[in-house]
């Protein structure tokens, strides 16, 4: 019975100055092969200058069911936004 190649998540920086972005996933026996495969699968047309590969099982993701408690508290903190503060119209550059 063969052992399955694990799943890897692929992150690509499209050019210097930009962050690595999630591009998709693929199967590979190890990290080196994941990098090689990622190059062939996700950067055939110069889409990247740097690749990160992370084995999918090492990613811990938040659960959308908890989105309420995780993200809703930010919604009533309007004072974190500049528009919350009233200034006279004459004030420039602020």
């Amino acid at each position: 019975m063969e052992k399955k190649w694990p799943l890897w998540e692929i992150f690509v920086r499209s050019k210097n100055g930009l962050e690595h972005r999630h591009f998709g996933s693929l199967h590979a026996a190890d990290a080196d092969m994941a990098l090689e495969n990622a190059r062939d699968v996700y950067t055939r047309r110069s889409e990247g200058v740097s690749i990160w590969v992370v084995e999918s099982k090492n990613i811990t993701a938040s659960n959308p069911e908890n989105n309420g408690e995780l993200f809703e508290p930010a919604q009533d903190k309007v004072y974190r936004h500049p528009t919350f503060y009233t200034l006279p119209d004459e004030i420039k550059h602020m």
Binding site: E2, K4, W5, L7, G24, A29, D30, D40, V41, P64
Partner: protein, 320 residues
């Protein structure tokens, strides 16, 4: 979960899609949504992978280096499309091996067009022009579908398809501007690929069972018949430019509707091919299953090597 709770969740879910929100892998979704998406995305992935076979047939015999690099690049793109789609499908909780198993056992379908043989070089032109052309018409609306990973995969696929169609049309154009024999070869390829390309856009609306649900989930934006009409309307003028005749005696511009009228499609042939009785169904599956089985030792060796490297890293002392 009670029936009422489930119904409530389903309503919220449908509302999110109606509001153009995307569904992501860990979101709650109705079982039917998950199953339908696994079926459609995997069928799509299988089509990309099996679709490499008819064209792979001509790589070694491409008439020039220019044609060979283009065909190689196109076939490699199709492998990439399959891989984007398989990984999108896996986010729905099915493994790659299960997906392959469904293809190899015949449980899952792939596009019936790839069960036709590629007998001349002109078929490489006709496939790029017509088959990729029809695929583009099918795929562009999917860039906006409701399931996030599928939509993102489709955006990537659509960016790459345009080259496929153009290289095919260029092959046709070169043949049509060549000798009489070359032009005849192009005409013969059009004759053989025209009707299967129309069938590729799916059964007529009256017989297409999933249309309504698929529209709601944005797996479909237009019906099969609408897509087919769009394909015919845009392709016939291209055939005119090539100086080729579309093999349909009933094909006629209709001033009133602003569309081409066209002849009866042989749906018996379509269903025969879908059911496994096309000219190349067996050959395609043998090639696919054969490649998978003959590759077993390579996959095993890669895994064994990876484990050995890992052990060396963890216990450098023990390494010999």
């Amino acid at each position: 979960m009670s029936d009422a709770q489930l119904k409530n969740l389903e309503e919220i879910f449908e509302q999110r899609i109606a509001n153009d929100e995307k569904i992501e892998p860990k979101d709650w979704m109705p079982e039917k949504y998950r199953k339908t998406h696994i079926r459609q995305i995997s069928q799509h992935a299988h089509s990309e992978i099996v679709g490499m076979l008819p064209e792979g047939n001509w790589i070694t015999r491409a008439p020039s280096l220019r044609r060979k690099v283009a065909l190689l690049a196109k076939v490699q793109d199709e492998a990439g499309h399959g891989l984007y789609l398989y990984s999108a499908c896996e986010t729905l909780g099915i493994s790659r091996d299960e997906l392959y198993e469904q293809l190899h056992s015949g449980k899952a379908k792939y596009s019936s067009i790839f069960n036709y043989p590629t007998v001349t070089w002109a078929d490489m032109g006709a496939i790029g022009w017509l088959v990729d052309g029809a695929a583009i018409i099918n795929q562009v609306p999917l860039c906006n579908t409701s399931y996030g990973p599928y939509a993102r995969a489709m955006i990537r696929v659509c960016k790459e398809e345009s080259f496929h169609q153009r290289q095919g049309f260029e092959i046709m154009m070169t043949l049509c501007n060549g000798t009489e024999a070359q032009k005849q070869m192009a005409q013969d390829a059009l004759n053989r690929w025209w009707w299967p390309s129309l069938m590729m856009l799916g059964p007529v609306d009256a017989e297409s069972v999933h249309t309504e649900q698929s529209m709601k989930w944005k797996l479909k934006r237009k019906t099969n018949d609408e897509l087919r009409q769009q394909f015919i309307d845009q392709t016939v003028p291209q055939a005119d430019i090539l100086g080729l005749t579309v093999p349909d005696p009933d094909l006629k511009w209709n001033e009133e509707t602003g569309h081409y009228d066209f002849g009866e499609i042989n749906w018996d042939e379509f269903w025969q091919v879908v059911k496994g009785h096309g000219p190349c169904n067996k050959e395609r599956m043998n090639a696919r299953v054969g490649a998978w089985e003959k590759g077993t030792w390579v996959r095993d060796a890669a895994m064994a090597y990876a484990e050995k490297q890992q052990n060396k890293k963890e216990n450098p002392a023990k390494a010999v």
